[in-house]
């Protein structure tokens, strides 16, 4: 919803050593097949056989989907600050999203999004930048965009639940990243470790919670780069 520019720091720095592609997730992309088609079209366009996928938060869900359905086309994955998609009983928040969409005017929806996005982090040197960037992005959102993304996310989770692969065939390298204060996704790190016992893991101790990548982009990218170097 916010767009790929929010990952400018890690993308720009890693591009010094790797070919980096940061994808925009179209607002109407909602099924597993659609996500796989986009990924395969990208591989074809860039003439790549296999890539390393880095999925942060919602992106981690998309990476888990691709790992489940086309594992042969992925070299290595980084699952960062993301929940566990496998084994979910029911998509969370479906009912709440429907209510939000029906009764909330756009200004209220934006307030909800801003509250979710902005956690004040005074010890981050990027705190003010982060606030300005997300405030601008969310202020410029259209209601149709918000609605389409929320609907697509809900539909996607249902789609995964219905078609979840029974067997996990991905055998490549797995890197796990999380921040201790991340209330949204830190719980999942141990579950991922159980699924991928050989995964490399790094836990950030600093503030920043779920939005560590934005509030401490330098520290985040340095650790990610160190781990990527161990698999290449």
């Amino acid at each position: 919803m916010i767009g790929p520019k929010m990952f400018f720091y890690p993308a720009y720095m890693l591009a010094e050593k790797y070919k980096v592609i940061v994808t925009l997730i179209p607002e109407n992309l909602s099924t597993i097949e659609e996500h796989i088609n986009v990924y395969e079209a990208l591989l074809k366009k860039e003439d790549l056989k296999k890539v390393t996928l880095i999925g942060y938060s919602y992106g981690g869900g998309l990476v888990q989907t691709l790992m489940g359905f086309i594992p042969e086309k992925i070299n290595c994955v980084t699952l960062s600050h993301t929940g566990l998609l496998w084994g979910r009983n029911k998509p969370k928040g479906t009912f709440l999203i429907k209510i939000l969409l029906k009764i909330f005017p756009l200004s209220k929806l934006k307030k909800v999004l801003l509250k979710k996005r902005l956690n004040d982090c005074p010890d981050s040197e990027w705190n003010e930048f982060y606030k300005q960037f997300f405030t601008q992005k969310i202020e410029n959102l259209k209601k149709s965009t918000v609605i389409n993304y929320l609907r697509a996310a809900t539909k996607f989770l249902k789609s995964f639940q219905q078609q979840e692969p029974k067997e996990r065939k991905f055998k490549g390298n797995v890197i796990l990243l999380g921040t201790e204060g991340d209330e949204d996704a830190f719980y999942a790190l141990e579950e991922f470790r159980n699924i991928f016992p050989n995964a490399q893991k790094y836990i950030f101790k600093e503030s920043g919670g779920h939005h560590f990548i934005f509030l401490h982009p330098r520290e985040y990218t340095m650790e990610l780069y160190k781990l990527l170097k161990t698999v290449y």
């Binding site: 591009a15 790797y18 960037f133 330098r218 780069y225």
Partner: protein, 35 residues
């Protein structure tokens, strides 16, 4: 692959206006690469 063992110089950017400048530089770089 030996070049991948080299270290990247990760900049510390504390000033807000410098951060916006860095952001614009990064975006322009990607836009240039992607045509």
């Amino acid at each position: 692959m030996s070049e991948l063992t080299e270290t990247i110089d990760f900049p510390i950017i504390e000033n807000l206006s410098d951060q916006w400048e860095f952001f614009n530089k990064a975006i322009q770089s990607f836009e240039k690469k992607n045509g």
